[in-house]
């Protein structure tokens, strides 16, 4: 699409007369006028804060008082202070739960739902799976912290089936807190991925499946040879969205564990908040925010490129 538009724009001036060019310039001026409110709002609320964040990251500032210039000291701290760099490691561990589980499980569920697409069960399954996406994350966090508490439903179920030995306060245990938070994220994002993949599947030409079946392909073969390649773009979108959700996660963790116990679930988003509003280290918070943005871009851009090449 983009290249098409560009080509046309390039071709048109050659046939256009000088007078039309003048009118076009006037029109474009009017066009800018129409766009001006949006541009102003975007500049004020997106560009200026972004630039300010970068600016603050070079100062040591408590948010009110004087602010000495410290160069790259804040960035050095982000990478050398284990408390700060540890948050980035935690965020990458969360990718497994926020991206891996929803995408893989979503693929399997979408394929299953597609097979039973005509039955009423499919509609019910789709709705049930998408509901977590509608629930505010804060509510999800609270509900899950009840489910996962020491006398919560999860432990009651485990005890009921004779697994009383493994029950614990899942969100309060050093070994299980991060995976437990990851499970909440997976639960939230599974519905989105399933729905995206399902809509992608409806675009795949049914003739391909018919041809495969005539060639004697089983359902597994169909899945890997037709469904998955046909869904490359949708998978790309799912992975992109979920990876961003993992790296920039805040609300679920703020509600469920607040970064505890003992920093085991501390992620960059939460650490930025603590640095800025509790420790009043606006410089360090800004530096970590800039690093987080760069990290998200570094992770997401290759995924975008991969899916674009295949299309």
């Amino acid at each position: 699409m983009a290249t098409l538009v560009a080509d046309r724009a390039e071709a048109r001036p050659r046939v256009a007369k000088p007078t039309r060019r003048g009118r076009r310039r006037g029109q474009s001026w009017v066009a800018w006028l129409f766009a001006a409110p949006a541009i102003a709002a975007y500049t004020l609320f997106v560009l200026v804060p972004m630039v300010r964040t970068v600016q603050y990251s070079f100062y040591e500032w408590d948010g009110i008082g004087p602010s000495p210039w410290v160069g790259f000291d804040n960035y050095v701290r982000v990478f050398t202070d284990p408390e700060l760099s540890g948050t980035i490691v935690n965020a990458f561990q969360l990718i497994v739960f926020f991206s891996g589980i929803p995408v893989l499980l979503g693929l399997a569920i979408a394929a299953t739902i597609r097979r039973i697409a005509t039955s009423r069960l499919a509609v019910v399954a789709r709705t049930v799976l998408f509901v977590p996406q509608v629930i505010p994350l804060v509510a999800a966090g609270i509900a899950w912290s009840w489910l996962l508490s020491s006398d919560g439903l999860v432990n009651q179920l485990l005890s009921a089936i004779g697994l009383g030995g493994v029950t614990r306060a899942w969100l309060g245990d050093f070994a299980t807190a991060l995976p437990a938070v990851g499970v909440i994220g997976a639960w939230v994002l599974l519905g989105l991925c399933t729905l995206l993949l399902l809509s992608g599947m409806s675009k795949i030409d049914p003739a391909l499946y018919e041809a495969a079946r005539l060639d004697g392909a089983g359902s597994m073969r169909e899945f890997f040879s037709i469904t998955v390649p046909g869904l490359r773009q949708e998978i790309g979108v799912c992975v992109t969205v979920t990876v961003i959700a993992a790296l920039a996660s805040f609300d679920i963790i703020y509600i469920a564990t607040q970064g505890g116990p003992g920093n085991t679930t501390m992620v960059p988003g939460l650490e930025i908040y603590y640095q800025a509003f509790v420790e009043r280290q606006v410089g360090v918070a800004s530096a970590l925010a800039v690093v987080l943005v760069v990290l998200v871009l570094v992770c997401v851009l290759p995924i975008q490129r991969l899916t674009r090449e295949s299309s």
């Binding site: 983009a2 560009a6 724009a9 390039e10 500049t43 560009l47 200026v48 630039v51 300010r52 970068v54 600016q55 603050y56 100062y59 040591e60 500032w61 408590d62 948010g63 009110i64 008082g65 004087p66 602010s67 000495p68 210039w69 408390e83 912290s145 996962l148 508490s149 020491s150 614990r168 306060a169 899942w170 969100l171 309060g172 245990d173 050093f174 564990t257 607040q258 970064g259 505890g260 116990p261 003992g262 920093n263 603590y274 509003f277 509790v278 420790e279 009043r280 280290q281 606006v282």
Partner: protein, 450 residues
């Protein structure tokens, strides 16, 4: 071609935008590092006058005492009305500097004052203290709110805030469960307290209901009580007030942390303490699940209502018995440096401590000991209530000169970023008592130094 140019234009535009912003602003924030705020001596007591005044106030949600006092004040001084904004304490803590700088209230509930004084955001109250005679009250009441103008250790210097009352902390106990294990009187020594823990454990009662989850590690309460049981409150206060060379890693604190670890290992706390927040702890205790709870008298009114006659309170005993020490802090309120009606706000603060009706509200609604001179009349309290016991404990601590600030108040970040994760690690067996104190001390030094 066009696309390339427009790309380049965007890039150039962005760079220019960035450059202008950076060049125009320089560093963010104010440049004044020196305090200009010296209090002027007053010759007569300020009042709210006769003209209509609207005091702007920023109060804490969930503390009905402020609203009750404001209403009573308006009843007595009808020309004063209120413009009240309320928030959770955590929100106030995070917003305090910005609110005080941008929209200075006349009266505001304050977190720890060090950083606010450093940024010259609070009015120096020395002038009012002199004319109202606040400086003649027992010194320990206001010690925590004193600081050198412009920053420095707390504990002495100018007065930058006042209390509406002062709270004490200690141990609440469930009288029904206490009877079951044969506890007839509050323990007089640490050993007696330990013996009760053993008995409770044997009787299958949770010995201590204590929260340690989220961003506020509640084990700081028993830890500091143990510190005071093994040592003197003075050095602990010095550390909290950021006196030069103060350390938390002392021999007696080592014993205290070790003792806390022994309790953890003996299973005296709930298994999921690391996932328990304050509200959940209160829920457990009021449901009768837990013999002891380390907490403060801000809950006494609530407990009198929810479990009337079923709850007792005692200050944590020291190792060998005798004098006691406990965390005791004023319910801190201050006047913004830029407040419009500072005189009227100061008059209100004095009224809260000296007016008989206001003192009654402070006790009945607030549940804590009023501020003011030692010989000021005390409101009547029904005997046998928790409120009566917390007031008695407050008087005893005052008499023993055992008031300490809370170790969580040493710096703005020490609770959320040091005590909490370290205490959670201690509970999970991932940290040693010695390592805990060393880690907190090292964080403290980097925070105080910066």
């Amino acid at each position: 071609m066009r696309r390339h140019i427009s790309h380049r234009r965007t890039a150039v535009g962005l760079v220019m935008l960035a450059a202008t912003l950076v060049a125009a602003c320089g560093g963010p924030g104010s440049d004044s590092a020196q305090s200009t705020d010296a209090a002027t001596a007053l010759t007569e007591k300020p009042t709210c006058g006769k003209e209509p005044v609207t005091l702007s106030a920023y109060f804490e949600t969930g503390f009905p005492i402020t609203k009750a006092l404001a209403d009573e004040f308006t009843r007595q001084f009808p020309n004063v009305t209120w413009d009240i904004r309320e928030d959770q304490f955590a929100v106030i803590t995070q917003n305090a500097p910005r609110v005080l700088a941008d929209d200075p209230p006349d009266l505001m509930r304050l977190p720890q004052v060090s950083e606010l004084v450093k940024d010259n955001l609070l009015k120096n109250l020395d002038g009012y203290a002199g004319v109202f005679g606040w400086d003649k009250w027992p010194a320990s009441q206001l010690e925590q709110l004193r600081m050198k103008p412009g920053g420095g250790p707390r504990g002495d210097g100018s007065l930058f805030a006042m209390g509406l009352n002062f709270s004490v902390t200690g141990v609440f106990y469930n009288k029904t469960l206490a009877e079951q294990i044969g506890m007839t009187a509050p323990p007089a020594t640490l050993a007696e307290f330990d013996a009760l823990l053993v008995k409770a454990k044997q009787a299958n009662i949770t010995p201590i209901a204590q929260f340690n989850g989220g961003a506020t590690g509640g084990f700081a309460f028993p830890l500091q009580n143990l510190m005071a049981a093994y040592g003197e409150p003075g050095p602990i206060n010095d550390w909290i007030f950021q006196k030069p060379d103060a350390t938390i890693d002392t021999a007696s604190n080592q014993k205290a942390a070790q003792h806390l670890q022994d309790w953890i290992k003996a299973g005296y706390f709930d298994q999921d303490a690391n996932a328990m927040d304050y509200a959940k702890m209160m829920g457990k205790f009021t449901a009768g699940d837990g013999l002891f709870m380390f907490n403060g008298d801000w809950e006494s009114g609530n407990l009198d209502k929810q479990m009337p006659g079923k709850v007792g309170f005692f200050p944590f005993p020291s190792e060998k018995g005798g004098t006691v020490a406990a965390m005791s802090a004023p319910l801190t309120f201050g006047i913004a440096a830029g407040a419009k009606h500072a005189d009227c706000a100061a008059f209100f603060l004095d009224w809260v401590a000296t007016n008989a009706d206001a003192r009654t509200i402070g006790v009945e609604v607030g549940g804590s000991h009023p501020m003011g001179p030692a010989d000021a009349p005390m409101p009547e309290v029904e005997q046998g209530t928790v409120t009566a016991e917390t007031l008695a404990a407050g008087a005893k601590i005052s008499q023993d000169n055992g008031a300490m600030d809370f170790i969580a108040n040493a710096t703005g970040a020490i609770y959320a970023k040091s005590w909490t994760p370290q205490l959670q690690k201690l509970f999970a067996g991932e940290q040693t008592p010695d390592g805990l104190l060393k880690a907190v001390q090292s964080d403290y030094e980097s925070q105080v130094g910066s």
